[in-house]
């Protein structure tokens, strides 16, 4: 009985932690995940960079597809400025068979991803970050060796058509960091696909 109470109390605490996720200003959570090239990539591998654009994305979501070329372009523009992209696929591939490591490799090769595409196999990373959809962006800033969350949300304000974009939220946030100020807005919301997980 005591054990049951303790277990449910722990479950509640875990639930609350999971639900909270990260907010702008928080210290980012370290991760070590398998990449499509077979290597393991960790956040701490980027300690010589100014920051990292962490993007939770996946293969089949139409919004992830709509943003795919824009994500590649972001890496090509910003990696040389100290803000490389790291893509993380958070979906359970039993529920979403297009998101197996094999299919991720195919996608990364077809589209020649210039950035790592990591699999959140245990689904602990997206929960720690508080990602809820794909694509979901977490811009991290390296502050004296510690990564801090600077911006959370969308890449821009038009998922359907890059040519119709009027606000490039993520690029504005990077520009703010580069000029020593804080991103405004520091968070944005967007429609996206749910992260597929066993309930």
């Amino acid at each position: 009985m005591k054990k049951a109470i303790l277990t449910s109390a722990l479950a509640l605490i875990t639930f609350a932690m999971v639900n909270a996720g990260l907010k702008p200003g928080d210290t980012a959570v370290e991760f070590s995940l398998k990449n499509v090239d077979g290597t393991t990539v960790s956040l701490s591998d980027y300690s010589d960079q100014k920051g990292v654009i962490v993007i939770f994305t996946c293969n089949p979501c139409p919004f992830a597809k709509a943003y795919e070329q824009r994500i590649i372009a972001l890496h090509q523009s910003y990696a040389s400025q100290g803000f490389p992209v790291v893509a993380i696929n958070p979906n359970d591939d039993e529920i979403s068979p297009d998101d197996t490591m094999e299919r991720m490799k195919e996608r990364a090769e077809e589209e020649e991803y210039p950035f790592p595409y990591l699999k959140d196999e245990t689904q602990e990373v997206y929960k720690a970050y508080g990602a809820t959809r794909t694509p979901h962006i977490f811009l991290l800033q390296n502050k004296g060796g510690k990564f801090k969350v600077a911006y959370i949300g969308a890449i821009d304000d038009n998922a359907m058509d890059a040519k119709l974009v009027t606000s490039r939220y993520l690029e504005l946030a990077i520009a703010a960091l580069a000029s020593g100020s804080s991103p405004d807005p520091a968070t944005t919301k967007a429609i996206g696909c749910t992260i597929k997980t066993k309930s």
Binding site: C61, T132, A154, M160, K189, A190, I191, G192, T194
Partner: protein
Amino acid sequence: MLSVMQGKGQNITEINREGLEVITQNFNDTTYVVNFWATWCSPCVKEIGYFEELHRESVSGNVKVILVSLDFPKQIDTRVIPFLNQKEISAEVLLMTDLDYNSWIDKVDPAWSGAIPATLIYNRYKRVFLEQELTRDELFNHVSQIMN
């Protein structure tokens, strides 16, 4: 409300930010069930039949089901109307044409992150917002909780 697109058996009315505000902030005796969905969203497709069932059961009652599609406007003729015909959906379907999501998600509910499916059930007394896929029982139970 902008224009009505004619499909076989199914009309889709386009709405913008102001239209969305109207349908999420009615305060009368009707209980509104506003479901945000898209044809490409598999959990949405799974649950949409329950919303249609709720609509058919309450045609003469005081529950109003509104299905707000977040499909891209260019896919209405090719995807959305054929889907609605195939599923024989007779509940009201609206197409959200404002793609500046950040400008209106919080107005529907501040707790909404933007993932779909998402469902708002409300009347003048009570309101619940659910960012999740619903089973038939969950949907009907939530509606009766709001009504009673």
